[in-house]
């Protein structure tokens, strides 16, 4: 796209407030408000789950009830009434749609507004497969056939529970145990849907897999659960993008994502998170409390997390890698942008267990308005991680003098041959750079967007093409109102 056209587009979007702020009116099939064992039984029954899954959920619920909400993050979280929310909402359909034609046209239009025209996806000749999640139920999945030919399983997790119970029993909860933390336990009890991906031995997934998560129904928390398994010598790139309609009440989102990479396997997981951040007075917005973790089980396996976090009122998210395999590799590339009254406490954990394991952490935090942005990360070297290597770079950029940028890295090294390097800087947009742009006729807002995008370039280049374009625009939109 020509640069000028893109700039015009960005400007148009920037003037339109929250671009994705609309509510689709579709009658919902809701569970009653509140959280108890009956609700969990209801969800399990709705999903037509086997008995063992229900038991798993109930056990998780029992664990959750004994836990306390974590308070160590640099976040000011208003008390959440877990009994005052709906835990299940599905778009009303008698049977699952057999084809795109059967999908509610209202839904399809919603996706079009979001920029994922499913009806056009097939014409676009197999670039991306979308397992679109609308509220809590997967309603349309494309390119299943092409994937099936390669032996790749890509389906809603509820379907996987029915169709591939052995895989689910083996892997679900093996990376993020039920009792790992408050929100993972909650998710295990009430998760409604999510994606399941299985890449067999030696297969390079023929396309990038993509899921759009979207919160639609008022007052329904979304509890997605995603599980990706990459067998020996396989490769998969997975994209996750999020937008949500504008609303005033806070919404809770507590997803769990588990990745398993076997010997020589590689998983690339990219996220653009653009949920409603609340208005300029800090009213409303999504609470995004996510547990994402990948296990590099096999030798030379690799897991790479890339995230662009611009949305949500509160973000609590630490995509992590457990580097068990010899010479396994973990990567974390992150841009976290906060504006107005947004709060973000995000980072990663790299647990080095295997010999020669390596990890790279590049984090770019941008704070504007009255927001608080915190990087929190752990690099742990276990005694057996001979010659392990970590490099961490955390840069923070402050836009305005009413926001905060914080960096809290934890380093624990128990092996002398391991090399760990951490560096962090905090600064603001340089006057020189700004002057240079203004002097060439670029408006201040565009100049800031340009400079911030430059600041994030190291992370942006890790994103797949489709995402990179959207992410750049997002950064411009999210910074709206932060200067001048």
């Amino acid at each position: 796209m020509a640069a000028t056209l893109e700039t015009i587009e960005t400007l148009e979007q920037a003037t339109g407030k929250y671009k994705y702020g609309f509510v689709t009116d579709i009658e919902s099939d809701k569970a009653p408000k509140g959280l108890n064992e009956d609700i969990i039984r209801f969800i399990s029954a709705k999903k037509d789950e086997p008995e063992w899954m229900l038991e798993w959920r109930l056990k998780a619920f029992a664990v959750w009830q004994k836990m306390d909400s974590p308070d160590w993050a640099k976040l000011d979280i208003p008390p959440i009434d877990y009994q005052d929310a709906y835990y299940y909402a599905a778009p009303k359909t008698s049977d699952g749609p057999a084809s795109l034609d059967e999908v509610d046209p209202e839904l399809l239009r919603t996706y079009e507004k979001l920029g994922i025209p499913i009806s056009e996806q097939k014409l676009l000749a197999g670039v991306v497969a979308v397992d679109a999640v609308f509220d809590s139920v997967s309603v349309a999945t494309t390119f299943r056939d092409e994937l099936a030919k390669a032996g790749v399983i890509f389906c809603p997790i509820s379907e996987a529970i029915r169709e591939y119970p052995e895989l689910i029993k083996t892997y679900m909860g093996s990376v993020v145990p039920v009792a790992d933390n408050y929100f993972s336990a909650l998710n295990a009890a009430v998760f409604t849907d999510g994606s399941f991906v299985y890449i067999p031995k030696g297969v390079r997934c023929p396309m990038e897999l993509s899921t759009y998560f979207r919160i639609n129904e008022q007052n329904t928390g979304q509890f997605e659960r995603t599980l990706i398994i990459a067998e020996d010598s396989s490769y998969v790139s997975y994209l996750e993008g999020c937008t949500a309609p504008q609303r005033d009440e806070n919404q809770l989102h507590a997803a769990v994502v588990e990745l398993v990479a076997m010997q020589d396997a590689e998983i690339k997981y990219s996220t653009v998170q653009n949920w409603y951040p609340g208005d300029e007075n800090g009213k409303g917005g999504i609470y995004n409390f996510v547990t994402k973790r990948g296990a590099c089980r096999g030798d030379r396996s690799k897991i790479s997390w890339t995230q662009v976090e611009t949305g949500s009122a509160i973000t609590w998210k630490y995509p992590s890698c457990i580097l068990q395999g010899k010479d396994s590799v973990g990567e974390f590339y992150s841009v976290a942008l906060t504006n107005n009254f947004q709060q973000a406490d995000t980072g990663t954990k790299m647990i080095h267990i295997g010999e020669g394991s390596r990890s790279t952490i590049i984090s770019k935090g941008i704070s504007a308005g009255r927001s608080q942005n915190c990087y929190r990360g752990l690099v742990r070297i276990q005694p057996g991680a001979e010659n392990a290597r970590n490099f961490t770079q955390c840069d923070s950029l402050l836009v305005g003098d009413r926001c905060g940028a914080h960096t809290v890295p934890y380093i624990v090294s128990r092996n002398p041959s391991a090399k760990i390097e951490h560096e962090a800087t905090t600064s603001r947009i340089s006057e020189d750079q700004l002057f240079y742009c203004l002097q060439r006729g670029i408006s201040e807002e565009d100049a800031v967007s340009l400079i911030v995008n430059g600041f994030c370039k190291e992370v942006m280049k890790e994103l797949p093409m489709e995402f990179a374009v959207e992410a750049q625009k997002l950064i411009g939109i999210s910074l709206e109102g932060s200067v001048g």
Binding site: V408, I411, H422, E423, A424, T425
Partner: protein, 415 residues
């Protein structure tokens, strides 16, 4: 109250009033930090619970604690504390420009304001104070004579709680060293330092307590406009040592350097914790931290730089590096930036690793034996921090300890 280190027997001080009573109440309410306390996540005190200690009393003031063999700087004035009790005659013949006396109630109030707030050591040691000293450098005085606060002790069953208020008045200059070489159960000194406008303090702390001593220090420093602190902490001794210093840059243009070295071997646990608060603009802070760990030692560095919203034009720098010499050693670091102002330059860095093989090879290929080469590289590694000390007397006081530690290094030679 059980007679354990976690709850020292405070019956003798139970009749306190005023500032000390308030501190006691705070201590009794909170006690030692538990496993959940984020500020103490790398340094757990639970294992020390079995120790049975009580605060030292006046009977233990007169001892023969040996002065260290290391030479004191020429003309230095030594103020001695033995088993936490001030040795009275050491306040005689103070250098001109310095006044020294026992603390009064007002001083205690000032100490609580300066020392780390809501801190177990501050509260416990103010409540159970064994001796309190108020040292003042009078306005405008330039005192170049080093004053050495020497802490000795020989009773393993006591806890010592010396409390010192050090004020460097407007435009004054002073050189103060804190030297801990005690063999007691718990050494818990509180240092409250106030450096007024345009004043300068050259300060060094040497923690060289015995291998059975637990050293938990709370140091609070407040800096006025254009005040200068050239500070350094060295932690070598003790079984468990935590040197915690909080600095408040309370006025513009203050300049704080607070570097540190920790050297650990056997089962030692060293913790250097700093909390640098930039409350006003145009201040700078710089911290260079170096640690070397051998045996099964564990080293911890936690350093927080807090920049308040009004503290524009802040320059906050911090660099921590740890060297692991043994397979069983562990290094933990938690550098932290908390920034609320936008026009600042703040950076921190942290590394952990072993000696660089290419550097070793470079030296050995030139005919230097591996042992000597290692010693040279460790010395150079530590020099980055030691070279930060500007005052020649303090530098001379400190260096021999670093050298001595290296000479005692298993497997090293007298390089």
């Amino acid at each position: 109250m059980p007679e354990s280190m976690m709850q020292p027997d405070l019956q003798d001080v139970a009749t306190l009033n005023g500032v000390q009573a308030a501190a006691l109440a705070r201590w009794q309410e909170r006690g030692w930090p538990g496993a959940e306390d984020e500020a103490w996540r790398f340094t757990r005190l639970a294992s020390l619970d079995k120790l049975s200690l009580r605060p030292a009393d006046a009977n233990l003031a007169n001892g023969t604690g040996n002065l260290s063999a290391h030479a004191l700087p020429a003309g230095a004035h030594v103020i001695r504390f033995h088993n936490g009790m001030l040795v009275a005659n050491s306040l005689e013949n103070m250098p001109t420009g310095i006044s020294a006396r026992l603390v009064d109630e007002d001083d205690l109030g000032a100490i609580v304001d300066l020392a780390p707030a809501n801190h177990p050591v501050t509260d416990l040691s103010v409540a159970a104070m064994t001796s309190g000293l108020a040292l003042d450098a009078v306005a405008g005085a330039t005192v170049t004579t080093p004053i050495i606060l020497m802490f000795t002790g020989n009773s393993g069953s006591v806890s010592t709680h010396p409390v010192v208020l050090l004020r460097v008045a407007k435009g004054a200059q002073a050189v103060i060293a804190e030297w801990h070489s005690a063999s007691v159960g718990l050494s818990a000194p509180v240092m409250a330092i106030d450096i007024a406008d345009n004043a300068r303090l050259d300060y060094a702390k040497i923690q060289q307590d015995s291998a059975t001593t637990t050293h938990l220090a709370a140091t609070g420093i407040k800096m006025g406009e254009a005040a200068v602190l050239d500070g350094f902490q060295l932690s070598i001794g003790g079984c468990l040592a935590r040197l915690e210093a909080h600095v408040m840059l309370a006025a513009e243009s203050a300049d704080c350097r607070l570097s540190a070295i920790y050297l650990g071997r056997r089962n030692q646990h060293h913790d250097i914790t700093t909390n640098m608060t930039h409350a006003r603009g145009h201040c700078q802070s710089n911290q260079v931290i170096r640690g070397v760990l051998d045996g099964a030692a564990r080293g911890v560095f936690q350093g927080k730089v807090h920049v308040a919203q009004d503290a524009q034009k802040t320059d906050g720098q911090q660099m921590s590096r740890a060297l692991l010499l043994s397979r069983k050693a562990e290094a933990d670091a938690k550098p932290e930036l908390e920034i609320y102002a936008d026009d600042v330059i703040c950076a921190h860095g942290a590394t952990v690793g072993e000696l660089d093989e290419t550097q070793l090879f470079y030296l050995t290929s030139r005919g230097i034996s591996p042992e000597v080469a290692r010693a040279m590289l460790i010395a150079a590694f530590l020099d980055d921090a030691v070279d930060m000390i500007e005052n020649a007397d303090l530098s001379a006081l400190l260096r021999p300890h670093v050298t001595a530690w290296m000479l005692a290094q298993e497997g090293s030679v007298n390089a």
